[in-house]
Symmetry: C2
Subunit: 255 residues, 2 copies
């Protein structure tokens, strides 16, 4: 490890490669540029590496060719551990709000992100590549050992048809009729089932979509308080309450 003072700020990078002490590999152009030109790291500096499967390792920079930084893996300092099984389902909204929602949901610990095209969804284009990049960056910064999956968008009817029956889908109830989410989450904590949080588009679900959500057995409407929340606020608030009451916020800091 160098004496570079910048080295005391741990840099974490997510990679796809298999990880094992002694292995070496070369980073792609973007991560190499980030290490060399943004963070000013050179040969002998070290960074932390994780891949979502093998835990987290120290790695030393062994080669600082432009755009192709070489790394040699040192010791594993965190073993891979189970992370929450919690999904976020959302109808695409404005680009900045979606970026924000994916970043924050990753920090809050979701394992999968599912874009659903509803009748009132204005934008049908979802840049899943960009969302995945956001999720990776948020996972790196939040000390997670995994990155949430980002699905390709699916239309609302197909989404409901393909839903696995065991996972419970908590849907923010715009009519105010849903039971308070803290009560629902407390019940879920007693008999743990996998959960997902779903928010609609800015214009809300269409009436026939609301009917379908009422008719399927896996949906639980939840109340998110007396104020009207934007879609991204509703998603994050619901995820925070679920994690705090029924998730892993009772087990202390990881690692």
């Amino acid at each position: 490890m160098s004496d570079n003072p910048a080295d005391f700020t741990r840099i974490r990078l997510f990679v796809e490669d298999d990880l094992a002490t002694g292995a070496g590999f070369t980073l792609g152009r973007d991560q190499s540029h980030y290490l060399q030109n943004v963070m000013r790291r050179g040969v002998g500096d070290r960074v932390a590496i994780f891949n979502g499967r093998d835990g987290e390792f120290w790695a030393e920079l062994t080669d600082a060719r432009r755009g192709a930084v070489g790394l040699s893996l040192g010791e594993q300092f965190r073993a891979q551990a189970p992370e929450p099984d919690l999904w976020l389902v959302f109808a695409p909204i404005k680009r900045t709000a979606v970026n924000f929602m994916v970043t924050k949901a990753t920090e809050l610990g979701v394992s999968r992100i599912v874009p659903v095209i509803t009748a009132r969804t204005n934008s049908e284009r979802v840049n899943t590549r960009r969302l995945r990049a956001n999720a990776i960056e948020a996972a790196e910064q939040s000390e997670r050992l995994s990155v949430p999956e980002v699905d390709e968008p699916v239309r609302f009817p197909a989404f409901l048809e393909r839903w696995s029956g065991t996972r419970r889908l908590l849907v923010g109830d715009e009519t105010g009729a849903g039971r308070p989410i803290a009560d629902i989450a407390a019940e879920m904590a007693q008999t743990p089932v996998p959960l997902a949080v779903m928010t609609g588009p800015e214009g809300g679900f269409a009436p026939d979509e609301l009917d379908q959500l009422r008719d399927v057995p896996f949906v639980t409407p939840v109340g998110l308080g007396p104020r009207v929340l934007r879609a991204d606020t509703a998603a994050l608030a619901a995820l925070a309450v679920v994690q705090a009451v029924a998730g892993d916020w009772r087990s202390g800091r990881m690692g």
Copy 2:
């Protein structure tokens, strides 16, 4: 009321004027521009008006002079009602993150927003005028009857000295030693005291600031789960859990 289909989308405007049925007043330039040029409203259309004191009224456009829309107040359709007494205290972070935090905190129902300059706060400039505009817009869209106060920034030592002893300050604990926020909030719900949520700057509190927070009797450190949250995520997650468990999320939709 006109037959303009756009009229079915209710527009809410916050004003400083006193409100009473039959009263008339003239909007300022920005709100006039918004009604005329953005929302395309004209004489005979109606909007909803609130001021944080007198409830919410229908108002009809009686004069559409450019930049000076005249309104005549009709019936009051919502009485002023108590709103949560919950503060957000934050160390200024990046501009977009602060805008975002103020908007979301307003949706989540905070009554006062207090910027505090800590040792590691990078930016000492806080545009309270812009933050107040964000809070007003979020209050209009979230159906609140009030707008949170936005304080002028105060330095950390003065902030601690001036704190009123009865309000409890929940501070996200970066060491992971804080008790889970859901447990703390459940206790607070039993013996209601006014609450505030506080988050530090991106670099965290300085060691002597952490010592001072430990030493004052009104601070309760709270655990926000095993992942590292950015300051704005921590603030919103904490506010959501407090409102869901100990706040007004158990009473259904307002109005």
